[in-house]
Subunit: 199 residues, 2 copies
């Protein structure tokens, strides 16, 4: 930014630039937008974010974000408490709930195993998951992302669970709905072939 | 967002969704990002924006954003005070300063004439510009965007200035019509400054 920009503007832009997917140019645009808003609106914006950050913590059962002691999914009597779906992050719970079709409960790991980034089993919430499995559990669904880290984490956890005689499953690999064969990558196509279903 | 998202998360996402160019999906991603940050970082983010909004106001001379009484450009003895470049918004000053090639001072209108949106001459800072012209001014450069409103505003103001025997010029049409100053590349902006025409 130019030496002629006033310092607070630069500060505001730098704060926006810390957000994921927001570069310096967009950050500057957002900063200018904010400076043009009524002071009450800017106050409301910051209060909304600050109070969210303050009131939200992790559900003591599933580790998902909640503002209560136990989240609304763990608290819901209609959900099947014998099926646990293990995901990497709270946003994955949102995605699965939006999609519908799952009536069990969740466990949020808050990360994936990644030796390259020095993230081991004690850095994500695996111990909390293991503690839950001492109860009456029928199935654990590993719903981590289909990436190297997601796969490694899923297989690490499944190896820990198997001796407990609990069924462990993994989300199916295959073609994304609405996509085209010609654009699918080789691994996806191979998996889609291997896991073909009878019609 | 799903009924299972906790309320503060929805509030935070709604605040982000108010920003220009940020839809509900990106807003939700940003809200999740914020909830994952340390509380101090979120505090710093909000403080940066709040204090910028509080300390920044308009320069009493050129109406550009500043945190002092008079902005650093108006205060700079090396700038030619006899040439005033009239722009729509503070971000346009940034764009022109970034491009370089202009050594005069600015006047920020904070809007453009737009009868469709009920914005008339009294809604933007034309009176403040006129007051400045009673001093020793050689030239006024109309640097509003090359859009319908920008053109209309430029010609309206130039008609007001001409009887005062001050030269009024317009940025050259090196700028692609219908675009915005803030996205123009530096060379285009410099050419447009060099080839300005008398109105």
């Amino acid at each position: 930014m130019s030496e002629y920009n006033s310092l607070p503007l630069v500060t505001a832009a730098e704060q926006f630039a810390k957000l994921p997917g927001i570069g310096m140019k967009t950050a500057q645009r957002l900063a200018y937008f904010m400076l043009n808003q009524p002071a009450e609106d800017v106050e409301e914006f910051c209060q909304g974010i600050l109070s969210a950050r303050k009131s939200v913590h992790c559900c003591s059962v599933c580790q998902n974000f909640t503002d209560g002691e136990i989240c609304s999914i763990c608290n819901d009597d209609r959900r099947d408490k014998k099926v646990i779906c293990v995901v990497e992050a709270p946003k994955d719970v949102s995605a699965l709930e939006r999609a519908g079709g799952f009536n069990g409960i969740y466990h949020v790991l808050h990360g994936l195993l990644s030796p390259m980034d020095n993230i081991g089993p004690n850095d994500i919430r695996i111990a909390e998951l293991m503690r839950r499995l001492s109860g009456d559990i029928d199935e654990v669904i590993m719903a981590t992302n289909p990436t190297v880290e997601g796969e490694a984490t899923a297989s690490y956890i499944s190896r820990m669970i198997k001796p407990m005689n609990i069924k462990v499953t993994r989300l199916a690999y295959g073609l994304p709905a609405g996509s085209a064969l010609e654009y699918a990558d080789d691994v996806t196509l191979q998996r889609a072939l291997e896991n073909r279903n009878e019609l």
